[in-house]
């Protein structure tokens, strides 16, 4: 190709395809918006569960960024763009708010290294990981250290003692409780855990609901955290970072499944709102299942993907071995995403519905 080889003083440039204008959208901006949308929910978590949440976030972010940088160095790729896209930070924050606020530091470290190095970077880094790294890291710890991963603090108003920043740091980094305080004084089962335990003991929902653990429609404290995450989710919708398809299909499938069983037997199946507002359903619907890399990309596929997660969450919560199920459900559907995408391709303009040319 002879470009610009005629005599003259033409601008010698490499010719680039259109479009030529500025492009406002950027990966780092997308990730920053996600982080911003997480702020209200995270503040609510700190309000109810104390400084441990913040310590976890700081620790997880530091480990994730360091792990990402280390892998890029080993892969001899530029470090700055990888760190600068904020994707590792988002993974770290989602992981940190999913684990208990008292988790020993080395577990956070282990979980993050697993998430970033094995789940994300070994598959090729951002854009190539088939699984949601934060959820994979969470499940890895849950399977390996089930006790530590299910020991939750009681929400502020229910706890006999609230941990100060120093006490939280000592607990996380040295494993030491404040003197004179027992675990029972600060911990409580999560609402989903408590519901499962009580139901297994043969209690009816009506009796279980009398416990001070319950708020208006979900676990006390938890329901408000879910509300604030919902606000963040609406922000993401408004900013067009995500579309409604996955969150709405996931939450409605969960509500419908829970509703059907609640109608059949309200003594052993909690009201649908309990499912939506007690665990990680809202967080999962807006922030986790919507991770674009590991989710479906076609519209119809996203509806199927979200609805399947909703139903899996209900199934695992109701009959499975774990009290909450968002992480498992998301990972299971991550496996199915490419296949779903393949079978849900939209009808291309000018083609007939069955894909055959007119």
């Amino acid at each position: 190709m002879c470009r610009n080889n005629a005599a003259g003083t033409g601008m010698s440039t490499t010719l680039v395809s259109s479009p030529h204008g500025s492009r406002p959208n950027r990966v780092d901006r997308v990730m920053q918006e996600v982080l911003l949308a997480l702020v209200p929910g995270v503040l609510a978590m700190i309000w109810f569960f104390g400084w441990g949440v913040l310590v976890n976030i700081a620790l997880a972010v530091a480990v994730a960024v360091a792990a990402e940088a280390a892998v890029m160095r080993v892969r001899r790729r530029p470090i700055r763009p990888a760190i600068g896209d904020y994707s590792a930070v988002v993974t770290a924050v989602l992981f940190a708010i999913s684990v208990p606020p008292t988790l020993p530091w080395w577990m956070t470290l282990l979980g993050m290294v697993f998430a970033i190095v094995l789940v994300k970077q070994l598959y090729g880094g951002i854009g190539y990981n088939p699984f949601n790294p934060a959820m994979a890291g969470y499940v890895f710890l849950l399977v390996s250290y089930p006790v530590a991963m299910t020991t939750w603090l009681a929400p502020g108003m229910l706890a006999e003692h609230s941990l100060s920043l120093m006490e939280s740091l000592r607990l996380i980094f040295a494993g030491a409780l404040p003197s004179g305080i027992e675990w029972d004084a600060i911990s409580a089962a999560t609402p989903l855990d408590a519901m499962r335990g009580k139901l297994d003991q043969g209690l009816a929902i009506q009796e279980i609901r009398l416990s001070p653990l319950w708020g208006d429609f979900g676990g006390r404290g938890w329901e408000w955290i879910a509300n604030w995450f919902l606000l963040g989710g609406v922000y993401l919708l408004w900013r067009r970072i995500i579309t409604w398809h996955i969150p709405v299909s996931m939450l409605s499938a969960l509500a419908v499944a829970a509703g059907v069983f609640w109608l059949i037997d309200p003594t052993t199946h909690p009201f649908p709102a309990f499912h939506l507002f007690s665990g990680a359903a809202i967080l999962g619907a807006f922030f986790i299942a919507t991770d674009p890399v590991s989710a479906c990309t076609t519209r119809k596929g996203q509806l199927l993907f979200g609805a399947s997660i909703g139903i899996l969450v209900f199934v695992i919560r109701t009959w499975g071995g774990y009290p909450d199920a968002v992480a498992f459900a998301v990972l299971l559907m991550n496996i199915a995403a490419p296949t779903i995408d393949h079978y849900t391709q939209p009808r291309v303009f000018g083609h007939t519905r069955d894909g055959v040319n007119r």
């Binding site: 190709m1 002879c2 470009r3 610009n4 005629a6 003259g8 033409g10 601008m11 010698s12 440039t13 010719l15 680039v16 395809s17 259109s18 479009p19 030529h20 204008g21 500025s22 492009r23 959208n25 950027r26 990966v27 901006r29 997308v30 763009p81 896209d85 994707s87 090729g124 880094g125 951002i126 854009g127 190539y128 579309t243 674009p292 890399v293 989710a295 990309t297 076609t298 995408d341 391709q345 939209p346 009808r347 291309v348 303009f349 000018g350 083609h351 040319n357 007119r358």
Partner: protein, 532 residues
């Protein structure tokens, strides 16, 4: 002539999938009237400015040419004639850089103008075209070298000849002008609405009376008003509608505009005529009016010269062949060094490598973008599968899958994902958060597919040739053997029959021997007498 059809629900508009809102930047250039550019000292007129075959030169180097004189004759059905856009001397027909994405050179007629701008003798105006045969009018349009002025530059006369078995129900005039920055159609509609409608009326006649829909994006209220005002003055109101359509890129894409105005989709790999629609740019309509009603060939067009790097952005009426650098100079030159010089709009235009390239029939805009307007997008990041591209794709494709397979050079898969339904509008690349040059990948993949098909075709040809050669060699061998066999057979079978032949030969040899002996004897005798 079936002039009136029942018009379906008035003002009903349809939507196409996706599309994007981009700052339209039209006010940079649409506040001043169109200014006629003076004759440049030198015109460089490419012999191919259209889709189809290159026109054949009809003049000789050194000849004096007049304005409007035929320089090159359309060659073949899909082709367009080229005319001199001013008078002067034809100094060369040689390769010269032309406006093309490749930046390559092509054959151009170079005219040193004489400044007189003398018209050649033009054909008679066809004022009473309604009484004339359609083919006669089409021949005039073809002679005038009218092509689609919206950018594709397909010969207009061909589009106006859909064939006897294709009934055209709707003629669409495209005044959408959805590309940011460009305002040449806007200004044309404001200033020459009557001519556009006159052209539409001619097309209406040629296409045997379809309804006419004129689509204009609603960010051009002055143009809409001017067109409506002009329509009220004509006898076309019964079958013509002017519709303001929502401003959304790429609503000016042919298939998108047809969808918006009629609700119908042009089938993949088909032309609009297939669903009874013909779509023409408003500029082409005005050019048709000039050709038929004035007998004037297409030798100039309106070009928007804009971008924040230009001192005085505006629209110019420019002769075809005027160097782009002259246009920029006429607009006060550069305010700052442009980062990019583009022919066409920012979404689909191509970068100009050489500012000396001439304006051609499809050149609608010369765009000089500053660093702020066209910043370096930075290195492309990995695709995060966010799906924004699929959301905005007007063809309803899955751009990220296309990208994935184009990158892997999986040419079968890109076609499975309908690569050839991509109109290269650039919406996907515009919204991509990873700043991946998606359109470039698609163009690359299309070229690879074409190259592969060409190779396949050549291989097929070579194979056919080889087979033909084998067959020929075998046949020759067979024939040779047959000849030998025949000879052998005839030798074995016929000594008796050829006996007389051999006797004659023997006799001849004998005679020759005797002659030789006699000569010898005579010579010997002569020697003897000499010696004596």
């Amino acid at each position: 002539m079936a002039a009136t059809h029942s018009l379906p629900s008035r003002e009903r508009l349809w939507k196409f999938h996706g599309g994007i809102h981009v700052p339209d930047e039209k006010s940079l250039s649409n506040t001043r009237p169109v200014e006629v550019m003076p004759v440049p000292g030198r015109l460089v007129i490419p012999l191919q400015q259209h889709i189809g075959a290159t026109a054949r030169p009809a003049v000789k180097v050194g000849e004096q040419v007049l304005k409007g004189q035929l320089l090159a004759q359309a060659e073949g059905y899909v082709s367009a004639s080229i005319h001199a856009s001013s008078s002067g001397t034809l100094v060369a027909i040689e390769p010269h850089p032309v406006p093309h994405p490749s930046g390559l050179s092509a054959l151009c007629a170079v005219i040193e103008t004489d400044g007189e701008d003398t018209w050649a003798e033009l054909p008679e105006p066809m004022t009473h075209y309604a009484q004339l045969d359609a083919s006669e009018i089409r021949e005039r349009i073809r002679w005038a070298g009218v092509v689609g002025l919206g950018g594709a530059s397909f010969p207009t006369s061909v589009k106006l000849n859909p064939g006897p078995d294709q009934r055209i129900r709707t003629l669409i005039l495209n005044g959408a002008e959805c590309e940011p920055y460009i305002t040449c159609d806007d200004l044309l509609m404001r200033e020459r609405a009557g001519d556009i409608l006159a052209g539409a009326r001619i097309m209406h006649h040629l296409l045997d009376g379809p309804r006419i829909l004129i689509g204009i994006e609603d960010n051009k209220p002055e143009a809409i008003d001017a067109m409506r005002f002009a329509l009220a003055e004509t006898d076309m109101r019964g079958y013509t509608e002017i519709r303001a359509i929502p401003t959304l890129y790429p609503s000016g894409g042919e298939k998108q505009l047809i969808r918006i105005l009629t609700g119908e989709e042009v089938p993949t790999h088909a032309i609009p005529a297939r669903i009874g629609v013909v779509c023409q740019n408003v500029g082409s309509a005005a050019a048709v009016a000039d050709a038929v009603l004035e007998g004037r060939p297409l030798i100039s067009r309106i070009v928007t010269v804009t971008g924040r790097a230009i001192v005085e952005p505006r629209n110019l009426e420019v002769r075809i062949g005027t160097p782009v650098s002259d246009l920029i100079a006429h607009c006060g030159g550069y305010r700052e060094r442009p980062r990019k010089l583009v022919s066409g709009g920012p979404m689909m235009g191509f970068e100009i490598a050489h500012p000396e390239i001439p304006v051609t029939k499809p050149t609608n805009c010369v765009l000089a973008l500053t660093e702020t307007e066209a910043p370096d997008p930075g290195p492309a990041l990995a695709c995060i599968r966010c799906g924004r591209c699929a959301e905005v794709c007007p063809a309803k494709l899955l751009p990220q899958q296309l990208y994935w397979h184009a990158r892997a050079k999986d040419l079968d898969r890109v076609q499975d994902y309908n690569l050839f339904d991509c109109i290269e509008c650039g919406c996907c690349a515009q919204v991509c958060p990873s700043h991946i040059p998606l359109v470039q990948y698609y163009r690359y993949a299309k070229n690879e597919v074409w190259a592969r098909e060409e190779e396949k075709r050549k291989a097929e040809l070579a194979r056919a040739r080889h087979e033909a050669k084998q067959v020929r060699l075998e046949r020759q061998e067979r024939e040779r053997k047959a000849r030998l066999r025949q000879k052998k057979e005839s030798l074995e079978a016929g000594p008796a029959r050829s006996g007389s032949d051999q006797d004659a030969k023997k006799a001849a040899i004998e005679a020759a021997k005797q002659r030789a002996a006699a000569k010898k004897a005579a010579a010997a005798k002569a020697e003897e007498t000499d010696d004596a």
